[in-house]
Symmetry: D2
Subunit: 309 residues, 4 copies
Amino acid sequence: MVDLNSLVHDIAAEMAAREERGTVASYIPELAGVDPAGFGIAVVGADGDTHVAGDGDTLFSIQSVSKVFTLTLALGKVGDALWQRVGREPSGNPFNSIVQLEYEKGIPRNPFINAGAIAVADAILAGHTPKVALGEILRFLHFVSDDESIHIDSAVARSEQATGFRNAALANYLRACGNLRNPVDLVLGVYFHHCAIAMSCRQLAMAGRYLAFGGRHPTAGGKVISSERAKRINALMLTCGHYDGSGDFAFRVGIPAKSGVGGGILAVVPGKASIAVWSPGLDAQGNSVLGSAALELVSRRMNWSIFGD
Amino acid sequence: MVDLNSLVHDIAAEMAAREERGTVASYIPELAGVDPAGFGIAVVGADGDTHVAGDGDTLFSIQSVSKVFTLTLALGKVGDALWQRVGREPSGNPFNSIVQLEYEKGIPRNPFINAGAIAVADAILAGHTPKVALGEILRFLHFVSDDESIHIDSAVARSEQATGFRNAALANYLRACGNLRNPVDLVLGVYFHHCAIAMSCRQLAMAGRYLAFGGRHPTAGGKVISSERAKRINALMLTCGHYDGSGDFAFRVGIPAKSGVGGGILAVVPGKASIAVWSPGLDAQGNSVLGSAALELVSRRMNWSIFGD
Amino acid sequence: MVDLNSLVHDIAAEMAAREERGTVASYIPELAGVDPAGFGIAVVGADGDTHVAGDGDTLFSIQSVSKVFTLTLALGKVGDALWQRVGREPSGNPFNSIVQLEYEKGIPRNPFINAGAIAVADAILAGHTPKVALGEILRFLHFVSDDESIHIDSAVARSEQATGFRNAALANYLRACGNLRNPVDLVLGVYFHHCAIAMSCRQLAMAGRYLAFGGRHPTAGGKVISSERAKRINALMLTCGHYDGSGDFAFRVGIPAKSGVGGGILAVVPGKASIAVWSPGLDAQGNSVLGSAALELVSRRMNWSIFGD
Amino acid sequence: MVDLNSLVHDIAAEMAAREERGTVASYIPELAGVDPAGFGIAVVGADGDTHVAGDGDTLFSIQSVSKVFTLTLALGKVGDALWQRVGREPSGNPFNSIVQLEYEKGIPRNPFINAGAIAVADAILAGHTPKVALGEILRFLHFVSDDESIHIDSAVARSEQATGFRNAALANYLRACGNLRNPVDLVLGVYFHHCAIAMSCRQLAMAGRYLAFGGRHPTAGGKVISSERAKRINALMLTCGHYDGSGDFAFRVGIPAKSGVGGGILAVVPGKASIAVWSPGLDAQGNSVLGSAALELVSRRMNWSIFGD
C-alpha cells in the first residue's frame, strides 16, 4: 500500500495524461466556461493529515454534492420524520425524475435526486426566510470543514434560477402533491443557492470528515451526528450518489460517494479517509469522468473498497 | 462484541418472540404451505467455525438467492461480456420489470431481477441441455458449500413452471429483443429449476464463504473467483439484492445480501462472516421480515455495517 | 324521430329523475359548492332555432370546454405551425399527462389535455399581455355566440391560480423543453382565466354552431373558419374530448364533444345541431355523468351518431 | 362529386405517380418480399356496385385488419361481457403495449392493439381447437364477403409463429393476469393464423359492407350484426384503428378505418361505402403511406368525412 501523499500526486499525474475527459456541463454559462483540463484531488486520512494534488485548491461549483450536507441538516432538524416525505431507494430511472414522482404520488425516491433534495430544502426552510436557511447551511459547512471562507457563487445561483424550469416543474409538482410546505419560489431559492456553493477539493474533503469518521468532528471534538446516522448517509451515497450510474460506481469503485454536475465527487471510506476529487468533464450519466477514474484507482491501490479486500 | 455462538442463539430466541412475521408467498402450493413460524440462522466466521440456531438446518426453497450463484457461474463462463446483456443498476421500479425491459430495449437493469437472471441462465445454458446446465449449477453449489446433498426440489420446479407466465413473458420479450440465444422453453427450464434449489441456512452460509472471504475456498484452498470479482458481486448484492427494498436494506442493515421469496437471505460481511437467515413471512417488497430484522440485529451487535463503525 | 323541443324537455325530465349523478369537482370551493341537482340542455338545430330545458340558462364554469375555442383562435393565428408544438393523438394515459410530456420531450399529445392547452395559450399570448389575450378570447366567444354578456368568473380564476400547482408544473416543464415562449406566469394567467369563463348551456350551444355547420356563422353570415378546419376540430373532439374516457364516449354516444370538470359538455352533430349539456356531477374520468347520459339519449333518439344510422 | 368509377381510377393513377411510399414491413420474409410498387383500391357503394382499380385484385396479408372481424365474432359469442376483458380507449402509447398492459393489470386498452386482439382470439377459441376457431373465422369472412376463396396464407402464419416472441410475451402476460383462459400456445395459434389471412382489396371492401350499411348483409339480406353494434365497431376503428396514428388519421381523413402492417386498410363510410386500399409501404406508425393518402383523397373528393361537409 502506498502512502497517501504519493497516492494523490501519482493520480493527479496520471489524470493529467488522460485524453478521455467527458463533456463539461453546458446548461449555464458559469459551468460551460470551466476549463476541461482541470483535475484536483484531496484526501484527509485517519490521522487528520490532508494530502492535496493537481487543482485541489481550485474552487468549483459543488452542485449536487451539497445534497449530502442539506440531508444531514434536515435530519438534524426533523429526524426520521423526513423519511415520510422522501424515500431511500435508488431511482433507477434513465428517463428522469418527474415520471417517478407522478407514479409515487409526490414522494421522491431518495434525497439525492432533484425532487428529493427540493423536499429536503423545504424541510430546512421550515417557515424561515431563504436567507436564514442558507445562513444555516453555510454555517454548517464552515463548522464541518473548519473553513469560514466557503460561500455561495451568486452568479451561478442566478443562472440556475433563470433557467431552472425543470426544477420549478418538480417543485410545483411536489407542492401539488402536498409534499412542499413553503412557497415554491422560496424553496427553489434555497435549492438553487445551496447547489451554487463553491468549494475546493481540500475544503470538500475536510467537510466530509464527519461521514468518514463515525460522525465525529476530528478537530472540534464531539459528534456532528451519531455514528448510526453517518453510516446511513454513507449507505444512501453508495446506493443513490451517482444518479443512474450509482450501481456501476458501486461495482467499479466500491466506496460511498456523491457526485455533482460541476464535476466534483465527495467519497467516504469509513474509518479511513474523506476524499474529494474534481474534474469538470462528465459522462453520459452526469458524473465526472476523471473523478470516477481517480476514485477507482484510489480504491484499488489502497484496497479501500467496502466490499472486500 | 458478543461471540458468534451467543449471537445466533440470542437472535433465534428474539425472533421466536416476534409477532409481526409478514406473509408467506402463496403463488405456488409448495411455498404457500410453509409454516410461518419458522426461523433459522447460520453464521460462518473468519475462523471457519459455523454457528447455527433455530431452524438453521431446515431446508427451504432458495429462490432468488440462487441468482448469486448463477451470476458467479455465468461470469466464469463469459466474463465481462455478460455486462453487454445485463446492466448493473438498481431497478428502482415498484411496478415491475417488464416495463423497464421495454424502455431499455431488452437489457435487464441487473442480474438479480427476474429478467436479468433469465439472461444469465441463457448464458449458462449456452447451447447445452438444461440437464447439463443444472448439473453444472449443482456441482458449483456442492463445491462452494462442501455439501453434496444439495438438490433441486422438483415439486417446486414443476409448480413454478406451471404458473410462471410472467417469467415466460419476460423470456419471450428478451428473445424478441435478441437478448436470448437459446430456445425460450429451455432457458425457462434452467431458470425455474435453479430457483427451486432447496438448502438450509447452514448450507447457504457455507456456500457464501467465497464471497465473504475474498473469493477463496476456505477448505479446498485456492480461489473460487478473484477477490476483484467477489467485491463486485457483493456490490451488486448491496445495490440490487432486495428488489425494490434494496436501498432501505442498505440503509438499515448495511451489509451486502440477496433475498428470495422463499424467505431466505444470504448476507456477506467482507472479511468477517457469511450469514444465512430464513423465515418465510415476507414484507411488501418480497423480503423476509424476520430475516431482515435478524440481520439488522447482527449488523448492530457485531458492528458489521460496511458503512462505518 | 322526435322534434327537438320535445327532446330537450323529455331528457331534462328524465335526468331530473336519475339518482346516479357522480361527484362534483372539489379542488376549488367555487366548484365544490355547485348544487349537484343541476341539469341543463340546449340544442341549436340546422334551422337556427334554439331549444332549452332544465337549467339551460344557468351559468357554469366551462373549464376545459374553453379549449375548443382557444384551439380555434390559435389555429387562426399560427395555422398548422401549431402542430409542431402539439400532437393530435389521444393521450390514453390513466396516470396523467406529465409522464407523457417527459416521454415525448415536451410535446403534449393533443391540444385538449392540460399541457396542450397551456401551449395553445402560449400561442395566443404571443408577446402580448394576458389582458389583451383574454380580451381576444372573450371577443371571439361574444362573436360566435352572438352574446356579449359572456365573461370570466374572477373568483374561479383566482382559486385556480392559487391551487394550480400541477398546471404550474406542466407549464414549467414545457418551458424547460423550449415549448413555451412567454413567461410561465403570464401563460398560466391566460390559461387559468379562460378555464374560468362562465356560460350557460344556451350560450355554449350558440357558441358551438360554427363547428356544427361547416365553419359558418349562421347569423353574421360568412365563415368563422374553413369547413376543413371545422371537421378537423370535430375529429379532435371525438378522439380526445373526454380525457381518458374519449374512446368510451365515442363508443357509446358517437358524437364529437368536449367536456369540462365544471360538468359542461359541448357536442357537435355535423350538419344537424350544436348541443350543450351541463350537470356538475362527474364520473371517474372527470366527465359529467348526466351530461354523457343525456347525449347518449340524444344520439339514440335522433339517430345522430356519426358512425351510422 | 365524382362518380366512384372515375374516383378509383384517378386515385390509382395518382398513387402510381407518388414517390414517397414508406417502408415495407420486414420482420418476416413473406412481407419483406412484397413489391413496394403495389397499390390497389376497391369501393363498394350504397348501390352495391364494386369499383376496383390498380392492384385491387392482388392478394395481400390483411394482418391487423383481421381484428375487425374477430372482434365482430367475439362480440357475437360473448356479447358485452367482452368489455370486462378489453377496454375501449385509444392506447396512446408510442412505446408499445406491454407497458400499458402492466399498468392496467392485464386489461388491454382496446381490441385492436395486439394484446387486445389476443384476448379476443381467446374469447373465440373458448375451449375449442384452433382449427375449429379458425374455421369459424374463415366461414364468417366467406359469408360477409360473398367469397369462399378467402384463405389463410400458411407460410405467413408459420413465419409469424416462428418470430412472434413479442406477441408470446403479451400472451403470457395476459395469462399471468388471468386474462387468458385457453393455453397460451393455442391462443397464439389462432392469432397468428387469422393475421395471416390473405385478401384482395375487392374481397376486403366486400367484407366491410356490413359495417358501412348498418349491420345488414346487402346480398344475403338480414343482419350480420345490429346497427348499434356496427356503429360501435366503427367508433372503435375511428379512435383506435391506426395504432398511435389514429388521432392523426381521424384528423386528416375523418373516416373509420383499420390498418394492418401488410399495407391494407379497410375504411367504412357509414351509409355510403365500404372501401379497401392496399400499398405495402408503411409510415413510422406502421400504417400504409399510399393507403392513407388515397383515403384522404377519397374523403375530400367525395366529401365523406364523418366530421362535417
